[in-house]
Amino acid sequence: MKKSTTALAVLAAASLSLGLAACGSNNDTGTSTTGAATTGAPSGDITGKTLTVWTWDPTFNIYAMQEAEKVYQKTHPDFKLTIVETPWDDLQTKLTTLAQSNTTDQLPDIFLVQNNAYQKNVINYPELFADYGNAGIDFSQFPQSVVDYSVIDGKNYGLPFDNGAVIAGYRTDVLQQAGYKLDDFTDLTWSDWLTKAKDVLAKTGKPLLSGQANSSDTIMMMLQSAGASLFDADGKPTIVDNAALEKAIATYQELVKAGVFTEVNSWDEYVQTFVNGNVAGTINGCWILGSIQSATAQSGKWDITDMPKLEGVDGATNYSANGGSSWAISANANYALAADFLKSTFAGSTEFYDTILPSSGALANWAPAAKSAVYAQPQAFFSNDAIYTKIVSYAGKVPSNNTGAYYYEARDAVSTAITKIMGGTDMATALKEAQDTVEFAMQ
């Protein structure tokens, strides 16, 4: 397996340089693959004892898989996982290459997919995925907004793994210096937030937020916090005349103009801004906690709360999500074994989640796990607050939004528009351009 995937990766790289060559896609007869049909045997007659998994982060999702393997081995001593470390960009390239060349037999049993990329991949390449119809997993135990990323035509294609619920982390010592408490920054609107953040900046010289100038992450979080997106229910782009988007961009502009949001160029610079203490907070998916905690000297000085909400927008809340990923079972999988393995670990073992939380910060989406005592333990780094319970409660309140198959196109187009707007282009013009770009891509 490993050998052939390596060869494939080399081939894929080579073919790119040759001009995106030729994965023989002419013979699109789909001989052996039968689409995304629920072809798996009903769970019960489980055969085989090894599974192959593609996933990317050794300290996070690979670690979680290894722990899941141990948990499952307790009841299935012969069971073995082969985990192939595959960064997301490579994984996406592999999926595309395998689907185009009709070689789905090269797929692993299970692979991890970014939530935002789910619609795109399942809609374009249904032949790569098996749905969870026969897996016997109770999806109502996961937050609806997270499950929705991987539901296509009413079928579940993903088992939510990591939680992307948005948190607002602040340096409580800096807030205190300016005469504020964490409560002053909880459950408020962006305009209240701005007033207070300006005050903090004036008194301490520290902005509360930072982010990449080239990215629309902050805008996208604001959008989802109001349940809004860049597409309507029919999948048509709604970048123009989108009240929530306009409000989000206007808010973002105000933040940057007031100096309470520092724009930087790259991810590393962004992380540096709060690690070296120049910026006294951040708003992002809760996976950012790992980066926050890399500044060990700031232990005890941080705490988290919910994010501000948009004003005057229907359905606005203080909760949103950014990122996160879910496990897919491939069309080439040993379906019965893969489904049973996932069901008994990621969707059925509090013991498993209790193990992975403290050492990797991998927060459960699975509701029963959050009731465990491990989640309620105070975290010294975060002013002895039980932050994990907090985050799980935020996750349950995140409004669903429609990512759509063209999420990446729309997100990039909006990023470009924001760069232009910040450079002085009129908002309506820039958004019209973005809308045209997405519509052109959809043709």
């Binding site: 073919s15 896609s25 002419n26 699109d28 996406q92 032949e127 080239n214 198959a405 052109f440 891509a441």
Partner: protein, 313 residues
């Protein structure tokens, strides 16, 4: 002796043996073909077959694996002219080409001439130092440049320290400066590489021609322009074609150094092609059309360069 040809014209050697049919000659050419065969087959299989397939792909449209023949057949190629983002990347790539390639080749030529001097000491050291950037991976040097030119990076620190600027320049946030950083990176990475070609070319030039020029009273500049450059012409042509080809296919710097930003203003054509095929909804047919557009441009430019540069009648 006026022009030295690196690829000696074989025609002169072969003409006397034109009596075909002699068993020996036949056998010889057959042996030659047998030696060529494995490489030729490999090239056909690994290069030409994918190229043909990619061309066929470029005539198909559809998202994902559901491809159908496009109507009309040139649909994807017509789409290129209506795609503002492609036209933008085309413009950006040509800006890189027009500015970077001439500067790099002239610089390489000057460096090669200097390092070819018989009086210079520590030549080996200098040659190695200038060639060394080529040994660095494209990705890692891109990351180093990104760090160097970040807002709080060493370049800004140095410029501020020298009081050349009063506040840090946000290099990668403006189209002009971001492109400048990419061009600077390309110059750093590739000048030494081209210099080595010129150095090799210079070894083939008879030193007596330089001496003759000196006796005739030509200074170093005149010797360079009237003696060195004309004799290096085939090499200059080769490097010009290679650099043009390389710049039109530029990917790593655009991807790693600027991520195409700001607002896609520094994105190269190959970066866009990757985005179309693997990051966005896979539009493989259109992506192939972009790759063929690049191929056609490289071919046309190489043809022009050969016509202009290779006048040996």
């Amino acid at each position: 002796m006026s022009t030295i040809d690196l690829t000696p014209d074989q025609a002169g050697v072969r003409t006397p043996a034109r009596h075909r049919g002699t068993g020996l000659e036949k056998k010889r050419s057959l042996t030659g073909w047998i030696f060529l065969l494995p490489a030729a087959l490999l090239i056909c299989w690994m290069n030409f077959y994918p190229m043909i397939q990619a061309f066929l792909l470029s005539l198909q449209s559809g998202k994902g694996a559901k491809l159908t023949w496009a109507h009309p057949a040139w649909y994807n190629y017509a789409r290129l002219f209506k795609d503002p983002q492609f036209l933008q990347t085309l413009k950006t790539t040509f800006i890189y080409l027009v500015i970077q390639v001439p500067i790099m080749l002239i610089l390489a030529l000057i460096l090669a001439t200097l390092l070819n001097s018989k009086t210079l000491r520590f030549k080996g050291l200098f040659r190695t130092a200038i060639f060394l950037p080529c040994a660095v991976s494209l990705v890692s040097y891109s990351f180093v440049f990104r760090t160097l030119f970040s807002t709080d990076g060493p370049v800004n620190d140095a410029l501020m320290g020298l009081h050349l600027i009063s506040s840090p320049v946000n290099w990668l946030a403006n189209a002009g400066t971001a492109r400048f950083v990419i061009i600077l990176g390309l110059l750093w990475r590739w000048t030494g590489y081209n210099m080595v070609f010129y150095l090799a070319g210079l070894q083939n030039i008879d030193y007596s021609t330089f001496e003759a020029a000196r006796i005739d009273g030509a200074g170093p500049v005149k010797t360079f322009i009237y003696v060195t450059i004309p004799q290096l012409k085939p090499m200059i042509l080769l490097t010009a074609i290679m650099s043009t080809n390389g710049t039109l296919q530029l990917f790593d710097e655009s991807w790693n150094l600027t991520q195409g930003g700001p607002a896609n203003m520094s994105m190269s054509m190959s970066h866009y092609l990757y985005q179309l095929s693997f990051q966005n909804n896979p539009n493989i047919g259109y992506g192939s059309a972009v790759s063929y557009a690049i191929l056609i441009m490289v071919a046309i430019l190489a043809l022009i360069q050969m016509r202009v540069g290779d006048r040996r009648d």
